[in-house]
């Protein structure tokens, strides 16, 4: 309840980070705000894949939840805190935004000189420009 509740600190940091990415996405129409279904499917499948990787690591006894006081203590699976779901979402969303934004820059610098738009990952967003 208190704003200094340390158990929510990591969760809050992840939510602030996701909100920041969401704002940039909205401002520049990169992913969710260009093709919501494709973005949500990419993030959903991507997060599921990384979660399977996490569970393999936990199952092999490689890593586990730390004793940090900045965790809420809520777990979604053995040794997988709630925060890990948001971390994986942040990782996938960050990757998608960076790559799409950088791809857009490359596409705008080399206008159809080498090969057609089918090479570009930006088929849904190409009309967007600053």
């Amino acid at each position: 309840m208190s704003s200094v509740f340390p158990g929510g600190a990591y969760l809050a940091a992840l939510l602030v980070s996701l909100a920041g990415l969401g704002f940039l996405d909205w401002r520049h129409r990169v992913a969710v705000f260009a093709d919501a279904r494709r973005t949500l499917a990419t993030i959903g499948i991507g997060v599921a894949a990384f979660l399977a990787w996490d569970l393999a690591g936990v199952g092999l006894g490689i890593f586990f939840r730390g004793d940090s006081r900045y965790l809420t203590g809520i777990q979604v699976a053995p040794e997988v805190p709630l925060e890990e779901l948001l971390f994986l979402t942040l990782l996938v969303y960050q990757t998608l935004l960076l790559w799409l934004a950088l791809s857009r820059r490359v596409a705008s610098r080399s206008p159809a000189s080498r090969s057609p738009a089918s090479r570009s990952p930006l088929t849904a967003t190409e009309e967007a420009s600053g």
Partner: protein
């Protein structure tokens, strides 16, 4: 060494699945994104490990730390650059005419 083996096995499997799609995409955006992700991982993974949000069995990691995060953790950044652009590209193809139904 368990973590090294797991990381390399996962990256190898992802590469087999993703590289055929990635090869048809422009190289520079992929490479620059990979560099950025590795830098972000170097910063924030050390925060996460340093604050004891995640912990490791020392007997199952290589012991190579940069500076407190296990080097194997960087496999997640490399996995992301393999998986995410591949998913986005394949999910976009599905709707195009002429693609397999």
């Amino acid at each position: 060494m368990t973590y090294v083996i797991l990381s390399l096995a996962v990256l190898a499997a992802l590469a087999v699945v993703c590289v055929p799609t990635l090869r048809r995409l422009p190289f520079r955006p992929l490479a620059l994104t990979a560099v950025a992700l590795v830098v972000l991982t170097a910063v924030f993974d050390n925060v996460i490990v340093g604050l004891h949000i995640v912990a490791y069995d020392r007997a199952r990691i290589s012991g190579l730390l940069v500076p407190v995060a296990p080097i194997e953790d960087f496999a997640y950044a490399l996995g992301a650059i393999l998986v995410v652009p591949t998913l986005w590209t394949l999910l976009g193809k599905r709707k195009e005419p002429g693609a397999r139904a």
